[in-house]
């Protein structure tokens, strides 16, 4: 009885799926879906290597400091970093006084209240604060950016397929649209962006846009894009170095334990056929 009912139910699902398939094939053969512009022109992130790649990957702190400088001087005007605190910058190699100075001189102040009147006010940031948002709210952000919303960058390197390489590819990927492709007004062609038209104007426009300190490589556009992408990876995954180190020791421990377990297994089963 179960088998007869099962057979009928099976025929039902198989039949309807086959019916769907038939119509799908007819539609596909009769009118093959045209490739959209996104399909033709979209480019995957470039293959870029970073110091933090692989199980032994570590931060290049000098690079993170340069990347932070690019963020501060180029990105921070529009993009927040609200999950990162100023105190976290000590992990980039800044000492306590430097962190305090960075927080104190941050161009955007932290929302607060006036201690005398209780009215909304702002104050200077301290190391314990997270990076303040550049706009008070979404409406203000859109109003200032031609109705586009600049995303917060705290997690951007983990929130896009391709990670840091996506960010770097996007930053360096602006070029003239191919012939016949119309870019809507106010948008910019970038084949690494999902729908090819990005509202953000090319942020890294010229070599030397940021002045790196002595002992650093020249601030070419490629170098700045590379550095800020690494910095954003740090912002998204500040525990990466600790994770890699803990992982290696954990694996050493587990492999040792597993070898012991295997030997115990062989010992217990010695002489037992199975």
């Amino acid at each position: 009885m179960v088998r007869i009912l099962g057979f009928l139910v099976g025929l039902g699902f198989v039949g309807v799926a086959a019916w769907s398939l038939l119509w799908g094939v007819i539609a596909y053969v009769g009118d093959p879906p045209a490739k959209t512009a996104e399909h033709r022109l979209h480019e995957e992130p470039r293959n870029i290597s970073y110091s933090f790649d692989g199980p032994f990957g570590r931060w290049d702190r000098q690079q993170l400091q340069r990347g932070f400088q690019v963020y501060k001087e180029v990105c921070a005007a529009c993009h927040g970093l609200n999950l990162v605190a100023f105190r976290n910058l000590s992990e980039l190699g800044y000492n306590e006084a430097e962190v305090r100075a960075i927080a104190d001189q941050w161009p955007i102040q932290v929302p607060s209240i006036n201690p005398d009147t209780g009215e909304p006010a702002t104050r200077k940031a301290i190391p314990a604060d997270n990076f303040p948002d550049p706009y008070p709210n979404e409406v203000a952000a859109r109003a200032a950016n031609n109705n586009a919303l600049p995303p917060d960058l705290s997690l951007i390197a983990k929130a896009r397929e391709g990670g840091a390489a996506y960010v770097e590819s996007l930053l360096t990927g602006y070029h003239a649209a191919p012939a016949g492709f119309e870019v809507p007004p106010g948008l910019h062609y970038n084949p690494h962006f999902a729908n090819l038209n990005i509202a953000m104007p090319p942020p890294i426009a010229a070599d030397g846009q940021v002045t790196y300190g002595p002992g650093n490589p020249p601030a070419t556009r490629a170098q700045m894009a590379h550095d800020v992408s690494a910095f954003l990876m740090w912002a998204a995954e500040p525990n990466l170095e600790r994770r890699h180190a803990a992982g290696l020791w954990t694996l050493v421990f587990l492999i040792f334990g597993t070898i012991l377990a295997y030997m115990a297994y062989q010992n217990v089963w010695a002489g037992r056929k199975h």
């Binding site: 139910v9 099976g10 198989v14 799908g24 994770r243 694996l251 334990g257 115990a264 217990v268």
Partner: protein
């Protein structure tokens, strides 16, 4: 339970004797996973995954309880509370990555456990109840995993909640009220998040309870084995402890190595990057997908694209649920008396086609619903249902199986002289070869 030659629990000291007389808990453990449970001696590594699944549940409960101490089930702050765990809680990143990848690990070992049951006919009499309780565990796992995925309240969390509860909306008449009842509103919002958190905390303990029933039911006939031949004599078995505890220890070591590689070196590999974007009800992601372990069902759901008496969406929902529910009837769909795929040459071919089919469905489920992927998933869906509901019942009636070994010990020892049964069933003495 199980076999007459099962070693009886003998308390080793006065305290255990005292305890055993009043609360025979040590006896229960001894008879369940100790020296008192005789297990076929010929189990291969595919029999390691039950214990590994139990271990995965323990990992999920332990990491989950600690995560719940720091997580905030408020729609405004849930996302930032997860990032707070990642950034500010001591070893919080480890807890969260262990929990997220632990879920994947749980599904990996559970799928292998289920596939082993399919190949070796573990669902057949007298183990139907073991099989069905296992499926109940699997369904509970899916519900728990789905609700857990919603908790970080990222974009994919939100839209997964919307799409999955929307499936119930496809049911005629009562669909929409059911959907609203599940969500606690018309769209995922605060009530959804709070109830999912509550249920996500509850269900693992329900799973633990059903696991006890699963093991209880298993211990009536005892474990199956790669030959599928019933245990006939003490020669066929070895006590669970120390033989299989030792083997499971090795298996657990390998499992933990895999999990550690995921946690420490590929923590986001199996996840969707879009879930690192906070939930936004006004912006639909271009490509909504569930986590990888749901991809085969998602492909089946999307394979039904044409209305036929019922709306296409309803067909998809029915097929998706049927794809799992039909497994409850498997013991009666496949009536062949031979359990193990080893002795069923035709079955074996179809089994491997099914494995390939499920892999293809899984691959397609993660891709966008575009042609030619939809056509491929339709073809794969056809095979999935045909395999269980049409091929298997016919095959089990007409197939010619290979001769079975007379007993487990015969298959193990071949033509050699029989090995004496273990004299000391507590198993610490070396074998008398």
């Amino acid at each position: 339970m199980s076999f007459p030659w099962a070693e009886e629990y003998r308390p080793k000291n006065a305290f255990m004797r005292y305890l055993d007389d009043r609360l025979p808990l040590p006896r229960l453990v001894y008879n369940s996973v100790g020296g008192g449970y005789p297990v076929p001696r010929n189990l291969n590594y595919m029999w390691n995954f039950g214990v590994l699944a139990g271990l995965a549940l323990v990992i999920q409960i332990v990491t989950g309880i600690v995560l719940a101490m720091h997580y905030n089930s408020n729609a405004e702050t849930a996302f930032t509370s997860v990032e707070h765990i990642m950034r500010n809680v001591n070893q919080g990143w480890f807890l969260r990555y262990a929990h997220a990848n632990g879920a994947s690990f749980f599904f990996i070992v559970t799928y292998l456990h289920i596939f082993r049951g399919l190949y070796y006919g573990s669902y057949k009499a007298p183990r139907e109840m073991v099989w069905m309780l296992g499926l109940v565990i699997f369904l509970l796992m899916m519900a728990t995993a789905f609700m857990g995925y919603v908790l970080p309240w990222g974009q994919m969390s939100f839209w997964a909640a919307k799409v999955i509860t929307g499936l119930f909306g496809a049911i005629p008449l009562v669909g929409e009220p059911i959907q609203n009842w599940l969500l606690g509103g018309y769209a995922p919002d605060q009530p959804t998040l709070t109830r999912f958190f509550s249920l996500h905390y509850l269900l693992p303990f329900v799973i633990a309870g059903v696991i006890i029933l699963h093991i209880w039911a298993l211990h009536i006939p005892g474990s199956s084995n790669p030959t599928g031949v019933d245990v006939k004599s003490p020669q066929d078995t070895l006590p669970f402890h120390p033989y299989y505890t030792a083997k499971d220890g090795f298996g657990a070591g390998l499992g933990m190595i895999l999990l550690a590689i995921l946690i420490f070196f590929l923590p986001n590999y199996l996840g969707d990057p879009v879930n690192y974007v906070p939930a936004d009800p006004l912006s639909t992601p271009s490509h909504i997908t569930p986590e990888w372990y749901f991809w085969p069902y998602y492909a089946i759901l999307r394979a039904f694209t044409v209305d036929f008496i019922l709306p296409a969406k309803l067909w998809g929902v029915l097929a998706m649920f049927a794809s799992i529910l039909l497994l409850f009837f498997l013991p009666w769909l496949d009536k062949g008396p031979v359990r193990s795929g080893r002795y069923r040459p035709k079955f074996r071919i179809f089994f491997w086609i099914l494995m390939l089919d499920i892999a293809v469905l899984g691959w397609l489920g993660g891709l966008p619903a575009e042609e030619p992927y939809v056509m491929a998933s339709q073809a794969a869906t056809i095979y999935y249902f045909a395999h269980f509901l049409i091929i298997l019942p016919i095959l089990s009636a007409v197939e010619r199986t290979l001769p079975l070994p007379l007993s487990i010990s015969e298959s193990v020892l071949g033509g050699e002289e029989a090995e004496a049964p273990p004299t000391d069933l507590s198993g610490t003495a070396p074998a008398q070869a």
